[in-house]
Amino acid sequence: MTNDTSRNTGFTKPVTYDIYLVGVGGQGVLTIGELIAEAAFRKGIPVNFYPTKGMAQRGGFVKAQLRLGRATIGPAIPEKGADMIIATEVSEALKAIRYVKPGGDFVLFAHVWAPTAVMLGKAPYPTLDQVFDAARDALNAGGRIHCIPEESLPMFEGSPVPDNIYTLAVALKQTALGELLSPADVEQVLRTRWKRGVERNIFAFQAGLGAQSHEAVTQ
């Protein structure tokens, strides 16, 4: 979060917050970005949300860049520019690390979606520790890693809640994004966006807000 009046430049910087999202097509990671964008927009915060799907219908790398707070804004976040990374797949998380700002937040839903070659034992897949090490290196002091294990998802009517909504709630509650948007701002969008599954989504959202800290212990 940036909100300082710099003596050197004479600029009054707006309150800005940049989020870089990565995952695999079909996981709903773009939906996380859409929900935050919509909530911010309804609140009158300037938004630019730039999803990149490429050729992936399902199963390919997807990313999105969400920039809040600036009326005139370019869609792309520079390297070392994002206040927060939200990643929903362990290996794909690595592709976002260079965009995180030193001192920022790194939120990972630790799902493993193994490509076929990995399943067949023909290609390596990174360990969680490798991802953490790389993230720590980029985050520096003051940066925080929040890791949501897949098994921590609460159940709703017999099946795990939607991981993207849960992850969004954790990110909102445990990072400075919560200073821009309140849970009520996001919940309002969740209630109106889909006709079906509202209870399930709200349950996931509330559970994520109430979750214990997922902050990974830094060395």
Binding site: Y50, A76, E79, I97, R98, P115
Partner: protein
């Protein structure tokens, strides 16, 4: 204010400018504009996906010749297809208003060329607007129609991936102007609408140049390329299109290193063609260093060199030609900061926007493959097996590929397809391999929409010249890669009201091809047998592999079958994963696991299993 994409904003802009008809062909990242209009279904406005971009352009141009406001939409590769007609209609000019929307893709997020369509505006002598934010797209699209009508010229609106697919707030008018119904006009003027003879063509060329000049005047009067002269005579910045949106932030950062924004002059180009000569001359007269910020090709920069030469400008021009920037990829904040640093010799740390890339190297490779339930999976598997069973090694047989989902056959586990060039090129290339003296079977693969778009002429050519090849048409009934648009072959019930379906199964025999088979790619055995047989026969052979794309089918609640894993039979041999590469299958502890949400029940995994561990149960619909 509404939150929408740049593509949506363009659609609203056209609508609020009184557009009467819109035609386009899907192509990422441009698709959303016409899709948005189709979803709105505005009364009195005809909106269609045309068979290809050339036809879309001609349909729109015809409507504009009849006096209406019309628009066509396409990705940059589509302009190549439309360009034959485009040059000619540029010469003729238009009667109503005509906007050509083209989306470029710097950074190649959609997998084609980094083609800079501004070069086409230069070649065609047509004005081009190059807005930055979605809100600006909405406003400039409306202005493009005015410009077109005031000058009698088609006008390009060029967007790039970053702005056409970005969502941002757009001030859409609550009470847009009401456009009176226009009666179509019929002008019979061969001097304008034909190219019969050099006198006609050269007169049209003269008129074309005059129209462009008039457009330049209109653009200047409208203030589309604002110039602000700085307090100092030092730095002048020229920024084109999308890059404009990064300036404010870039200025703030550069200011930390000694840059004083109010000292600098700034020329923001929203209309990149015709070249804003007067504005550039004013800037050159005021500055001793000029920084040019434009993505892809140095079109603006080269124009500045020309004016600099004419003025005897002795300062520096900083940009691509001076070696500071390259011609590849998207621009961002870092380019603004780097450019200012280079222009003013500021000490800016080189790692300000540069992080380590080691982490990415650890990421698992994730080659994109066809979706779970994709019928193409069966076709690729069948082609591979047919080649082997016909007695050939895979590498001894050329399988050419085409644009769309069919190109996913290039990736593992199939590795079937070896070429991807442009719409329809699979057919021409295949004939070239045959004529080069290749004696093994040559196979061309093409999807349904691509076949209609540009495949048919290639097939006609093969028939006329009796070039022996096997064409496999992968017909899934939709233009799927771009998000399941309707094409001429889509089932009748999904065609727009009043439209009709053209069946490939009727087109192929009508071309005089009697070696023609229709197969269902979920029936792996039969599909393999038919292709294997075709490979042995002489002449032109066509296999129509037909099964609906599983994405729209699943959305309608359909499934091809129910897959059941018999755990006690599975020996974890992984054959199903190796052969299908289906994203719905993963390895469990004792047996493979099928993701029920992803699975469409195509049964191809069951067809590969030799342990009776995967069963398909038919579903009754």
């Amino acid at each position: 204010m509404k939150l929408m994409t740049g593509n949506d904003a363009l659609a609203w802009g056209a609508l609020h400018a009184g557009v009467k008809m819109v035609a386009g062909y899907p192509g990422t990242p441009s698709t959303g504009a016409l899709a948005s209009l189709l979803a709105m279904n505005p009364p009195g406005v005809h909106v269609e996906w045309s068979v290809n971009e050339k036809v879309a352009f001609e349909v729109a141009a015809g409507a504009a010749w009849a006096g209406q406001r019309a628009m066509c939409t396409m990705k940059m590769a589509g302009v190549n297809v439309a360009f034959d007609s485009l040059i000619s209609i540029a010469y003729s000019g238009i009667v109503g208003g005509l906007v050509i929307y083209v989306a470029d893709d710097p950074g190649v997020s959609a997998g084609m060329a980094e083609q800079d369509s501004r070069g086409f505006a230069i070649m065609a002598d047509l004005p081009m607007l190059d807005p930055s934010s979605p809100d600006e797209i909405y406003r400039l699209t409306q202005m493009a129609f005015d410009l077109s009508e005031k000058t009698g010229s088609p006008v390009f609106v060029r967007l790039v991936t970053a702005n056409c697919s970005s969502y941002a707030g757009v001030n859409v008018a609550d009470n847009p102007p009401v456009w009176p119904e226009r009666k179509p006009v019929l002008l019979h003027d061969i001097n304008r609408f034909t190219k019969a003879g050099s006198a006609i063509c050269m007169t049209q060329h003269r008129d074309l140049i005059a129209r462009l000049e008039k457009a330049g005047q209109w653009i200047a009067d409208a203030g589309l390329n604002p110039l602000r002269l700085g307090k100092q005579r030092g730095l002048g910045i020229v920024v084109g299109g999308m890059v404009d949106s990064y300036l404010e932030e870039g200025f703030e950062i550069a200011a930390r290193f000694g840059f004083i924004p109010s000292d600098a002059s700034l020329l923001q180009l929203k209309a990149v063609h015709p070249f804003p000569t007067e504005r550039v001359r004013a800037l050159l007269g005021h500055c001793d260093t000029v920084l040019v910020l434009e993505e892809l090709e140095p079109h603006i920069e080269k124009g500045i060199y020309v004016e600099a030469h004419r003025l005897g400008f002795e300062g520096r021009i900083v940009g691509k030609l001076s070696g500071v920037f390259g011609r590849i990829g998207e621009y961002g904040i870092s380019h603004v900061v780097k450019g200012i640093g280079a222009a003013l010799d500021l000490q800016i740390p080189s790692d300000l926007f540069q992080s380590k890339t080691d982490a990415e190297k650890l990421a698992a490779a994730r080659p994109i493959t066809v979706c779970a339930g994709c019928p193409h999976r069966g076709t690729f598997m069948a082609i591979n097996t047919a080649i082997r069973k016909a007695g050939f090694k895979k590498n001894d047989v050329m399988v050419t590929g085409d644009i769309g989902c069919t190109i996913l056959g290039m990736n593992p586990p199939f590795n079937t397809v070896s070429t991807e060039v442009s719409m329809g090129a699979s057919l021409g290339l295949a004939q070239g391999y045959v004529r080069a003296g290749v004696t093994t079977p040559v196979i061309a693969t093409i999807g349904d929409s691509t076949f209609y778009h540009a495949g048919i002429p290639g097939l006609l050519n093969a028939v006329q010249h009796q070039t022996p090849l096997t064409l496999v048409i992968l017909d899934n009934g939709w233009t799927s890669m771009t998000g399941m648009q309707v094409n001429p072959g889509t089932a009748e019930k999904f065609q727009q009201s009043g439209d009709t379906r053209l069946d490939i199964a009727k087109i192929v025999p009508a071309l005089g091809i009697d070696q023609f088979w229709i197969v269902r790619p979920f029936d792996l055995e039969d599909t393999t047998k038919v292709i294997q047989n075709a490979l042995k026969l002489p002449g032109v052979k066509v296999v129509l592999a037909r099964e609906e794309c599983s994405m729209p089918a699943k959305r309608r609640g359909l499934e091809a079958g129910q897959i059941k894993v018999v755990e006690e039979n599975c020996n974890l041999c992984k054959l199903c994963i190796i052969q299908t590469g289906c994203p719905a299958i993963s390895l469990g502890e004792n047996a493979v696991v099928i993701d029920e949400n992803l699975c469409y029940g195509c049964g191809l995994c069951a067809a590969t299993c030799n342990q009776d561990a995967i069963l398909v149960e038919e579903v009754t619909l």
